[in-house]
Structure formats: structure tokens, C-alpha cells
Amino acid sequence: MKFDKQRSFRKSMTWVHTWTGLPVGWLLFAIFVTGTLSFYRLEITQWMQPETQQATIYDQGQGLTHATALLEEYGADAEQWTIGFPTARTPLYQVRWRVPEPEQGEAREGKPGSHNAAAKSEQQHSTAAPATDSAGKLKPQEGYRGMKYFMMDPATGQVITPRDTAGGEFLYRFHFQLYGMHWAIGRTLVVIATFFMFVAIITGVIIHRNIFKDFFSFRPRKGQRSWLDAHAATSVIALPFHLILTFSGLLFLAGQLVPMVAGAAYNGDPRGFLRDYRGGGNIEQPAPNPNNARLYDINAIAADALQRAPEGIDSINIKRPGKADAEISVTTLAPSLFGGKASLDDLRYDGVTGKFLPKEEPEHSAAETIWKFMLTTHMGLFATPITRALLFLSGVFGSVMIASGLVMWLVAREKDRQKLGYMPKGHRLVERLNVAAIAGLMCAVAGFFWANRLVPATQAERGEWEINGFFIVWGICLLHAIFRPHLHAWREQLLLAALGLMSLPLLNGLSGGNFIWQNLQQGQFASVGFDLTALALGLGLLFAARQVQLKIQAAKTLASPAEPKPRFNKRQADSLQEQ
């Protein structure tokens, strides 16, 4: 790149776009893919616990009674009960309780006792527990911070003990703090990449002045032109998504990059901002009432809540059950921007008299509203199934956008290479990293799900082995990409990823779960969705592999036997240079 030449504004922006995109593109692709999958992290975790697919999940109206009975039997001395209701995303009852124990330092994620989607999946990180102990009593599974829980079949009230799994939680955490390093380092890397992404989006918009003109003219099978069109189309179609998600991601992790800013308003106390933001930090908790009192009938509370919120119930949370100051809050499925971390509305009742307690709505500042809006959007919290599917689709577009951008860097320099007559080292490096970061990651994701079913269900540290599976496959793909010719590496890895993903619906039925039609009958729609999505993604990758195959064949027919193969020569020159 020459800097001494005069160039137009748009040309300069193109330069910025290229060189902010390339260095972090591979990392961004991984963040986008794992983040996109995180829209369905509860469903993924559920798929990875095939025991849950054995439930007959249609609630006959007895589920809540069974759940309450479990809590009374096992959680009599608990300070808090939570009954997670089966929803479209989690088909089983989750019966949780917390036994008081000294608070530990590692309470960064969420406030204790938050009954929301994040907390739900957190607990699935627990260690596998044997189903019963010697006395014939069920042994609960253990979650974070003294939380114990059962998963329960809504129809029969039977407790189901699923296998330990890294689950969707691994993909979710990877997308903002990576893995195998301190979380602060991981988050800093992610926020730097996000920053570059934001710059790339803005410069990208500037470059495409006639945004609709380019947008409506996708021309397939035209070489570089098509790559550019695909890159522009996937960018512009989901532009609102890309902008909001990148900007909000930047906001969430801004504390990593500029840690002093929020602290400055709190006299250097970095936690002060979070305390205020999460709310409740300044409210004086009244002293607990030690007197015992009978808990109000939870079934009646649920019935009342259903009348107030016909959308349905997400969970019921009971604070200090059996005490005189017991409090019941019902999280409904009604969306509410300021309603807790899961952005769901909640109804509060007195735990002894069962009286409905109307809540006073505090004033919300504009900053808080925008922050909440960003958070809700980024996490897809309120999302209806269609919106969630479209968020996922937009995430796929984003991934394709990044991948096509990376590939385009090479395609756009094809002429330079022909002029040079050999393959520069940098280009070969980009080629290798492209294959490993794009196709290799897809193989790794497939490997992660395969590891979930291949590692024995009772294996200690199961979750770790699943994660190992993910990184082992990814590592092998990197080696493969280094040693195989470029197009062949693409074809083989795309094919592997396609087969790995497309076989997941079969694998599910063969290794403890159900086949799609069985899940359909049982109403396990989350797993059906997982299987179908895996199939669709696999088909997409298969199509890509086929395109690469065609390209290889075209190159072969072009290079007549008399001439030396150009590709081989380039590689030779390259390897000679390396030596």
C-alpha cells in the first residue's frame, strides 16, 4: 500500500475497511458464529442432554403440584425456591432451591437468585450426580452458588437427571470471552475485534454510496463480482442487526477497554456503576422475619398470574418459603423492557396471604432505556419464535458477510498474483487461515456436538471433554489447511463440516435422543428445531463444497496436460521462498 499518493475519500475508506476487517476477521467470524448459535443456547443445551428428550412433556395440570411437593421434600430449609416452568424453549420443569451458605467472591454474573434464562442455563454447568443415594432419596444436581435443582417431567412428575454438558453455555461464553485464558484477556480481545468490526461497518456503509443499487443486484457465478455482491447483500440485508449488535456488544464490553470511565462517576469504585445499573443495590433489605408461617397455595397464585398475564408463566420464585415474610414473584412471559435481566414482566404476591402486590414503576433515564434496549436486542430476550429465528438468520448473514469479506481479500488480489507469477507469503497465510477459521470452525462446531454423544454419559468432567473435542477438531483443521493445497483444503473441510452437521439428526436418535418424527410427536420442538437447523446448515455447507469442487474441476480442464499446472508452480515458488 502506498500512502504518498493522493486518493479520494471513498478510496481511503476502502483501505480502512480492508485493513480493519482482515486482521480480526478470523476472530470475528468465530465470535459471530458462536454468538449466533447462542440465540438458541437453551435449545442447544437441551439437545446436548438427550435424557430430556425422553420426557412426555405435555403437562396434564399436575406439574406444578409435583414440583411443589419436590421442593417441600428436599428444600425445606432453603432460603429460596424457584420453579422454572416448561416453555417453548425449555420443555421440562426446573425445580431449584438454594441452601444458605457463605457468599463467595465469584458472584460476577447476575445477582444471586435471579430467575431467568441466563441462570437457568448456568446451572446446567453442574457436575453430574448419581440419580439416587443409598436411602433411596433422589440426589439433586448442583449448580452454582449453593443452588440445587431437579429437572422434572411435566406430565409424570418424574425427576430426570440429564448428563453433564458444556452445552450452549460454552458457545455463549466463547463468543464474548473466548476460552482457555483469563476472562479479562478474552473479553479485551473480543472488544478490540468488535471495535474493528464497528469501524468496518461504518466504512462499509460509506463505500457503498448507492447502497440500494448494489443491494438489489446480486449476480451469482461471476467471480469477484459475485463475492462483492454477496458481501454487500449480506451486509445490507441485515444492516440494522449488524449495527445494533456490534454497537451493543461494544457497549457491554466497553468497561474492558476504558475501565476508568464508569468508575469516575463513582469515585473510582468500578463496581458502583454495575450496582446502580442492575438496580436494587441501594435498597435497604428489611431484617428477615424468623417466624414460621404456612406458604400460600402456589397453584392458586399461578392461576391468578395466568389471568393477569395470558402469555403464560416463565417461572415462580419464592423467597424465604415457610417464613412469615415469604414473598412470591411470578415471572410471566409478557415482555417488559425493564423487567429484570430476562426482560420479562413479573408479578409479586405476599407469600402468606397470597395478596397481589402492585409494583411502583420507577423513572427510567434515557440512558438506561437505551442500554436496556441494546441488551434486550443483543440477547434476543423478549423474542418471539419468529423474531428469534430472524435474529439467527441475521447472524448467519453476518457470518457469511465476514467469511465472504475474508475470501474477497484473496479474490481481489488474484490479478496481482498473476502479475507477480508466484504466491506471496502473506497471501498463502491468509489462504490457510481462511480455511481453518471458516470451514475449520464449522467442523469444530460439528465436532463439539459429536463429542457430546461420543463421550460416555457418566464420564467425569464431561463438559471439558466436549470442549476438548471442539478444539481438537479445530486444531486438526488448522494443520490440514496448512498442508493441503488451498482449494482442496476448502473442499475437504466444507465436506466434513457438512457431513458432520447433516448427520446430527441421525446421531440424536441413535445415541440416547429421539429421531425428528418422535420429537415431533412428543412436542419436543426445541430439539426438532435443532435437528432441522443442523440439517439446513449442513446442506448450505455441502452446496459450498460443491462449488469448490466445480472450481477445482474447471481449473483442471483449463490447465492442459502440456502446460505445467499453474497452481503447483505457485506453491513450489512459495515453498522455495519459505526455505
Binding site: 440500494f212 438489489f216 449476480r219 423492557l337 434486550t376 436486542t377 419468529i386 423474531t387 438468520l393
Partner: protein
């Protein structure tokens, strides 16, 4: 999500894409006057903005905005796919407009 919103957004994108030179002839088989082009663009933009309205009647504004963004994505995606691989379908949809323009 609402069907009305989708239809409005779809019409909006479709009209905009009729006007962006390169593809106009794929959909309406005629040259449009400048005034016609301007009118179609205007109607297209109005339809796009209007597609927010059904969203607002269902949800509060913040959630409606996200649903709207996703709806626009879906509509744009549909238009592009049709335009690239099945332009004849779009031509059928545009037929009433063609009669009126002629």
C-alpha cells in the same frame, strides 16, 4: 411479526428495486419516465416506513423496532432471492402496476 407489515415492507423493497436501474427491466418490461421513477421510489419508501405501524400496534416501541428491523431483513432477503433466481414471480406481482403505468 405481522403479515401486513411484511407485505408492506415487501412492496416497499420491490418498488425501490424496480427503480434501481440494473434490475428494472427484469420486473417491468418498459422504460419509466423520470416522474414515474420518482413516484415509485416515493411510494416504496412510504410503504417501508408504513410497515413499522402494524408492529407498533402489537408491541411497545422498543420491541416493535426490533421486530421491524427483522421484518425488513426478511422482506429484503425475499426480494433479493426472488430477483436473482425467480424474477418472473416478481414480474407477476408487478403486473397491475405495469398496466397502470403504461
Amino acid at each position: 411479526m405481522s403479515l401486513l407489515g411484511f407485505v408492506l415492507a415487501f412492496i416497499g423493497f420491490n418498488l425501490l428495486c424496480v427503480n434501481t436501474g440494473r434490475n428494472a427491466n427484469k420486473i417491468v418490461d418498459m422504460t419509466l419516465t423520470l416522474a414515474q421513477q420518482r413516484l415509485l421510489t416515493l411510494v416504496g419508501w412510504v410503504a417501508l416506513v408504513m410497515s413499522l405501524w402494524p408492529m407498533l400496534t402489537i408491541d411497545s416501541i422498543s420491541i416493535a423496532l426490533i421486530n421491524w428491523a427483522m421484518l425488513l431483513t426478511l422482506a429484503a432477503c425475499t426480494v433479493i432471492l426472488l430477483l436473482t433466481y425467480r424474477p418472473k414471480l416478481l414480474a407477476v406481482l408487478a403486473k397491475p402496476v405495469t398496466h397502470w403505468l403504461a
